[in-house]
């Protein structure tokens, strides 16, 4: 199997080409081709993973082909535990989403193209996870971004979808610049794009131990640059703004790309390049990773509480959970992060597909319009609830195991991160159950919405994924962590040792304190949500009187629902609103206007004055650019001959300049040029 593993990404490519070429003439208008291809890839992935884990390999299998002789640029694939797990996750979720999409996209006028895009995305994603070469990874990375763009903007007649697609593409591109810089840096210092092998990047990281300014080592710098890419793709603060908007795409796409696979690519990238981070003796890079992740986790969770669009709640939840994984990577929870990536892929894909089923059934995305759907959509409800429990980290669900492992590692390494993680778990449970209660419980709030259960072709994937949301966790229970045994050797002997040294001999296992705290946090969140929305013990009216100065704002009932539920939540609410405001105005506004990251941090001091000054500077820059552009646009005459003439004159000027510099600097060899010693 390992010899033909390269076929796994090729099959969807073939499906893509077939659907693009023949479209509606294929069986099922192309859907069956795409699904057959995906199932074939899934079968091969299962066979590959089964063979790999059964044989207990330690060395990654890696094979390359040379592109062009003379250039040391290879293309190849590698198989190890990490890529096996990623292959399984991608193929399973992609198959489920494709099957689901038959029902969801039924009757769409661009139905075949949708499946073509999905196949292309799957191919790119599979290439990304199987590549053994960072350049190939980068290409697949960009291709994944392209398909994400195409699919977010799938209904491009909608102006908002078009804008969201552009936004997603451009915002992730900011991070990609970092990624590109990082890979160039790695190439310059290790002389290779390959990951494995004696000449590969990982074997030559010792060349990058040079300590630079701020005590940052070269490896750390490369790691941070690569992490920039992960920030963009995995929607981490401050580049998370594209992901909520990406919900404009079809819901199955959100499930596949913006919940389960592509956004996890950032986490995968950091995990794949983990030796680079471990080689960073200053440990700055990993700390940055940890704090960015933790901040994102809390920040996004607090926004999620205040959202009313079912997909946006899930989107912020995704951002928050990705922050969780990134945070785990930062505190040396390498295995825990990948484990959470896997479980999250299953239950979050399920949640999105479930929400898609709800949207399909009710025709709206606003949870204020829903309510009482439990009876009308029992299948959707129960599967949704299972995944929610898994996401909240209830013990003995997949999410429970993975979240607990992350917290255990954080507990051992960094108390601040541990605290943040616990708080995040609490908030997650709170807003997820708010979502469940408002959507499925109580009475229908809008009589115009006539909900109905979705067709079987949509329910079956929901069921399978919900099952996985429970079962998938048992590969990594704290008592017998099969996952860890196979994942640690991926790093190679040297770095696996490094990881253990860094963890001071601490082996994550079952830790009663952590278990108790995590479970309490999750149950606490659920409980708080219950007493507010399900069994209204905490009455909103009672809380109105002490805060009368805000009473005028709450004349609208729905508004009260949002803002005045309990005193404990009030602080959270305000911070959520503030964070939302911060997100909307400071980050969105300034980045879109091309101001850099530093300006953003300065603006975070909530100073309007600052913002005006910076804005003025920005306008000055823009004006200067515009002025220069206006001035030199007369050069663009559209006449080829004039371009040619300018080209020749420029070449002459450059040659003269080079010559002049050589003569002035007294370079004898160059200066001899002018002596005209012809040798006829």
């Amino acid at each position: 199997m390992t010899e033909i593993a390269w076929l796994i990404p090729i099959i969807p490519v073939i499906a893509f080409v077939m659907i693009i070429a023949f479209g509606r003439r294929l069986p099922g208008e192309g859907a069956y081709i795409a699904i057959a291809g995906m199932l074939a890839s899934l079968g091969m992935s299962i066979a590959l993973a089964g063979q790999w884990f059964a044989q207990a390999h330690t060395e990654p299998f890696s094979k390359s082909a040379n592109w062009m002789p003379g250039l040391s640029v290879n293309m190849g694939y590698s198989v190890d535990a990490l890529s096996c797990v990623m292959l399984l996750v991608v193929t399973i979720v992609a198959s489920m989403v494709m099957i689901y999409s038959i029902g969801y996209m039924h009757g769409d006028k661009r139905f075949p193209r949708y499946f073509a895009y999905l196949s292309l995305f799957a191919a790119a994603m599979l290439t990304l996870v199987i590549a053994n070469n960072i350049l190939l990874m980068f290409m697949a990375w960009e291709l994944v971004g392209l398909t994400s763009y195409l699919l977010i903007g799938f209904w491009f007649e909608k102006r908002s979808a078009m804008r969201a697609a552009k936004k997603a593409f451009l915002v992730t591109r900011v991070g990609d610049v970092g990624f590109l810089a990082g890979l160039v840096l790695l190439y310059l210092h290790t002389g290779s794009f390959d990951l494995f092998g004696a000449t590969g990047i990982f074997e030559n990281l010792s060349k990058m131990q040079v300590i630079g300014p701020l005590g940052l080592s070269l490896a750390g710098l490369a790691g941070l640059l690569l992490f920039c890419g992960a920030i963009g793709k995995s929607a981490q603060f401050p580049l998370h703004i594209w992901l909520p908007d990406a919900m404009e795409g079809p819901t199955p796409v959100s499930a596949l790309i913006h919940a389960a696979t592509m956004v996890a690519a950032g986490v995968y990238l950091v995990a794949r390049m983990y030796p680079v981070f471990l080689a960073d003796t200053s440990h700055i890079a990993l700390n940055v990773v940890a704090y960015v992740g933790a901040f994102t986790a809390l920040f996004a969770a607090s926004i999620g509480i205040a959202q009313n669009d079912i997909k946006r709640v899930l989107a912020y939840s995704t951002v928050s959970q990705l922050g969780y994984m990134i945070m785990a990577l930062g505190v040396l929870g390498y295995v825990a992060a990948i484990f959470h990536l896997m479980t999250h892929a299953f239950f979050k894909a399920q949640l999105f597909l479930g929400s898609g089923s709800v949207i399909h059934g009710t025709g709206t995305q606003d949870i204020r319009q829903m309510g009482g759907l439990r009876k009308k959509m029992p299948w959707t409800y129960w599967t949704f609830l299972i995944s929610t429990l898994s996401l909240c980290g209830i013990p003995f669900t997949a999410g429970g195991f993975s979240k607990e492992e992350i917290l255990t590692v954080a507990f051992a390494n960094n108390p601040i991160i541990f605290f943040a993680g616990t708080l995040g778990a609490f908030m997650t449970a709170f807003y997820m159950f708010r979502l469940v209660y408002k959507t499925f419980h109580g009475e229908p709030r809008n009589k115009d919405v006539h909900a109905h259960e979705s067709p079987k072709v949509m329910l079956v994937p929901l069921g399978i994924l919900a099952g996985l949301a429970i079962v998938a966790g048992f590969v990594g229970t704290p008592f017998n962590n099969l996952f860890e045994h196979s994942m640690i050797p991926v790093l190679g002997a040297q770095f696996a040792g490094e990881l253990e040294r860094s963890m001071n001999g601490f082996a994550p296992g079952f830790n009663l304190i952590v278990f108790a705290i995590a479970t309490t946090a999750a149950l606490g969140g659920i409980g708080l949500a219950t007493i507010i929305w399900l069994v209204p013990i905490l009455k909103i009216e009672k809380l109105e009187r002490p805060f009368g100065w805000l009473a005028k704002l709450v004349e609208n009932k729905y508004y009260i629902d949002e803002f005045y539920n309990a005193t404990i939540i009030r602080a959270l609410m305000i911070s959520a609103a503030v964070a939302y405001w911060f997100d909307r105005w400071v980050i969105d506004y300034l980045i879109v206007n091309g101001v850099g990251y530093l300006t953003l941090v300065a603006s975070a001091a909530w100073s309007w004055f600052d913002r005006n000054v910076v804005d003025g500077l920005v306008n000055l820059v823009a004006w200067t650019t515009g002025f220069v552009g206006r001035s030199i646009r007369y050069l663009q005459t559209g006449v080829t001959q004039q371009y040619m003439f300018l080209l020749v004159v420029s070449v002459l000027i450059i040659s003269l300049a080079v010559l002049g510099v050589a003569m002035l600097s007294g370079d004898r060899a160059e200066a001899a040029w002018i002596h005209l010693s012809f040798r006829f």
Binding site: P69, T637, Q641, F645, V648, V651, L652, W673, R679
Partner: protein
């Protein structure tokens, strides 16, 4: 044999003759106002370049040059000239206000190149090689075909894909749009 104190070989004479024809024909290509004659002169230039290839011990390349460049590309250009009905268009571009300016720029660039080329010390200058005897390996058809199918097979296949794309693409571009189609 010595002429005016220089030692001159027959090959050098052949070189001078061929390159003289080539360069004069090339000048004609850019200066002759009648575009059809310019295209024919391009054919002559290309044949001259093929002759230079022969002098550089690359006869296969010379044949390929004649077959593809002269036989195919020049024919295609002449047909395009007819189809675009622009044969007798006389005069030069007015985009650069004076053709002399363009000629001057190109001339200065040539002076640069010439001084650089003629002044450089070429380590394998034939005057160094001739004393040591010929240093030739089998630079023949077989070597070319081996190189094409072994180390360069990827670009070779890529070139075939490119040609296919060009075949389809140029038909699509040049095809007249039928109304209603």
């Amino acid at each position: 044999m010595h002429i005016f104190g220089f030692e001159i070989t027959g090959y050098q004479l052949a070189f001078v003759a061929i390159s003289g024809v080539t360069v004069i024909a090339a000048l004609g290509v850019v200066l002759v106002p009648n575009i059809l004659r310019a295209a024919l002169l391009l054919g002559l230039t290309l044949i001259g370049v093929a002759g230079l290839f022969v002098l550089m011990n690359a006869p296969f390349l010379a044949a390929v040059q004649i077959m593809i460049y002269v036989g195919a590309i020049t024919t295609m250009i002449i047909l395009a000239v007819f189809l675009s009905n622009q044969v007798m268009r006389i005069g030069f571009s007015q985009a650069i206000y004076n053709p002399i300016l363009a000629a001057g720029a190109a001339g200065i660039l040539f002076a640069f190149l010439f001084i650089t080329v003629a002044n450089s010390v070429w380590i394998n200058d034939p005057r160094n090689i001739i004393a040591a005897g010929p240093a030739n390996s089998d630079v023949g058809v077989e070597a070319i075909s081996r190189a094409l199918l072994q180390p360069y097979v990827f670009p070779f296949e890529l070139a075939s894909v490119l040609l296919l794309a060009v075949l389809v693409g140029s038909v699509v571009i040049a095809k007249e749009d039928k109304p209603g189609a």
